[in-house]
């Protein structure tokens, strides 16, 4: 028996993806499949940044590509209290003197302030692993983007369903 409370968001999305793929194969979701084949967003992808998010990303990162990988953003799929939403950001990128993660940025698409926090790190930390608690106004995609000393940008995304507004 599967304990539903222990299912991670990722696992649920993976199962949904498999179901969607099966349905698409049977023709029921042919249009959705065409969209995915066409490069449209899948269930695990964030929505296209709104104007404010695009501006915030552009100000900080210019037009450098932001690729998915090397970062995990762990958040609850459902946050009952938007005033206190746990966040864990981890990365497998090296933290050596010559090459390291110099910045970790947290963006919440639908918060009054889109860029919620920046964490500036050095190799002395040895590893990227940050745990904190944030406020969320409403259901939104959250973006964790790390910047390396090489100028590379790596990201992970989480969609969090918010029941109680945590921003007023």
């Amino acid at each position: 028996m599967i304990d539903a409370s222990r299912l991670s968001r990722r696992a649920v999305l993976r199962v949904l993806g498999l179901v969607a793929a099966a349905l698409a194969g049977s023709g029921a979701l042919g249009r959705a499949r065409r969209l995915v084949a066409w490069g449209g967003p899948g269930p695990d992808d964030p929505e296209i940044p709104n104007e404010e998010v695009a501006r915030a990303l552009g100000t900080r990162f210019g037009d450098r590509p932001i690729r998915r990988g090397h970062v995990t953003l762990d958040m609850p799929a459902v946050a009952e209290d938007g005033r206190v939403v746990p966040v864990i950001i981890e990365s497998d990128l090296p933290m050596t003197a010559g090459r390291y993660v110099k910045g970790v940025h947290l963006f919440v698409d639908h918060n009054p302030g889109v860029h919620l926090a920046g964490f500036y790190l050095t190799p002395a930390l040895g590893s990227v692993s940050i745990t904190t608690r944030i406020k969320m106004k409403r259901t939104s995609w959250v973006r964790a983007i790390v910047e390396t000393t090489d100028g590379e940008l790596w990201a992970d995304y989480a969609r969090v369903l918010v029941t109680l507004n945590g921003c007023g």
Partner: protein, 111 residues
């Protein structure tokens, strides 16, 4: 009931060996008011939040955090640290109204 604003705690493991990658847990008491709320009497509550945290290990700055009022009340943050020398680990929190709060813990190795 609520702790004094700026009261902070830093927790590191009891036993640390040289070279360990340790987890540093910290918490500070602060309202982190966004400026969007009003009191029951309808008076606006001004924005009052920690916007910068500096972490030093011995004489070196090892991390710096830029925060907004989007961080929850009584901000808690944990991070990893490579314990490669015996030295104090100090965190300094600064808020947007000029408040500066500091807390230290000694990183010492168990034989």
């Amino acid at each position: 009931m609520r702790a004094t604003i700026g009261e902070a705690r830093i927790r590191v493991p009891d036993r640390i060996a040289k070279g360990d990658l340790i987890t540093v847990n910290s918490i500070i008491s602060h309202p982190m008011d966004t400026g969007f709320f009003r009191t029951k009497e309808g008076e606006p509550i001004p924005a009052y939040f920690i916007n910068e945290v500096v972490v030093t290990y011995g004489d070196r700055e090892v991390a710096r955090f830029e925060w907004t009022s989007g961080i929850s009340r009584d901000p808690a943050i944990s991070f990893k640290l490579k314990a490669d020398r015996e030295a104090p680990l100090t965190m300094t929190w600064k808020d947007n109204q000029g408040g500066v709060f500091s807390q230290s813990v000694q990183i010492a190795f168990t034989a």
